[in-house]
């Protein structure tokens, strides 16, 4: 965490597929271009393999500014259009306090304490909504 040099720009964040949920784990300092690329990757992954949920684990992220906040909100909005739920998991207290102060409360975004809880939320939801397959979450 006290790395004196910025990490080499990782231009790609891996998107894992677990059952019908996508799991994305963000780490360290995210460059704007990486975040934009991620947004595109997730959109394509959802469209390709009709998943029911996306979990974005940000427990390893030290700051979320308005740019990254907007990227997260747009991922969620896009996923919703494709009938998938997005859950942001593991936000650190300092990051949460800062976002609130910044005026970004990300309304409508679902959150969970960690990735495991988020996966639990999504599978419970999938189980209870399976009979009525076409159910959609209101924005």
């Amino acid at each position: 965490m006290s790395d004196p040099y910025p990490r080499a720009p990782s231009t790609h964040v891996p998107v894992l597929r677990l059952g019908d949920v996508l799991l994305v784990t963000l780490q360290g300092d995210l460059h704007d271009s990486t975040a934009e690329q991620l947004q595109q990757d997730i959109g394509e992954a959802i469209a390709r393999s009709s998943v029911s949920g996306v979990v974005i684990d940000i427990s390893g992220v030290e700051i979320v500014d308005s740019f990254l906040g907007r990227v997260l909100a747009e991922i969620a909005a896009k996923a919703r259009l494709l009938a998938a739920q997005t859950v942001v998991a593991g936000m650190r207290p300092a990051v949460a306090i800062t976002l609130v102060e910044l005026g970004l409360t990300l309304p409508g975004m679902r959150t969970a304490l960690d990735a495991q809880d988020a996966l639990g939320m999504l599978t419970r939801q999938a189980a209870s909504s399976r009979p009525a397959h076409a159910r959609q979450e209101s924005p």
Binding site: I63, F67, R70, A94, E101, L102, L104
Partner: protein, 146 residues
């Protein structure tokens, strides 16, 4: 009695990569000065917002950082400067929701809430200078700005 140290660092802001450098520099300096984790995070986030403004709206510029001391309280002053088109209506630019490009319109107004002191100097075709200061211990009169 307030004393300012020498200019600690002067970093260019001309690319996406530079924003990461700015965040890294501010994080490290704030940690060395003894800022708590929450205050560090606020300051780094404010720096990220302001550096992005410099890059996107000012067409690039510089960050200068100076360490401050006021008795036993330490501080960090960050100045973001560009020679861009400037902000025609500063008052309006500080209101939430205002945006001239993309973003959620939280840039300036949001950054102001994350620091202890905030000042801005800009005008049409005059470039923009935004200076922010935060202290390790919150001053008794925190928000006497603009």
């Amino acid at each position: 009695m307030q004393t300012a140290g020498r200019v600690e660092a002067s970093l260019p802001i001309s690319s996406d990569m530079d924003l990461a450098w700015v965040r890294q520099h501010v994080r490290q300096t704030a940690a060395e000065l003894g800022f708590g984790l929450v205050e560090q995070t606020k300051l780094v986030t404010a720096a990220s917002e302001l550096a992005r403004n410099t890059l996107v709206h000012g067409g690039g510029g510089r960050l200068e950082s100076v360490r401050l001391a006021n008795g036993h309280v330490r501080g960090l002053r960050l100045t973001f400067a560009d020679d861009g088109p400037g902000i025609p209506d500063v008052e309006r630019a500080l209101t939430d929701g205002y945006t001239s490009g993309d973003g959620l319109g939280m840039g300036l107004g949001g950054a102001r809430r994350l620091v202890h002191e905030f000042s801005i100097d800009s005008g049409p075709d005059a470039g923009t200078r935004v200076t922010v200061i935060s202290w390790t211990v919150r001053p008794p009169h925190p928000r006497g700005e603009v």
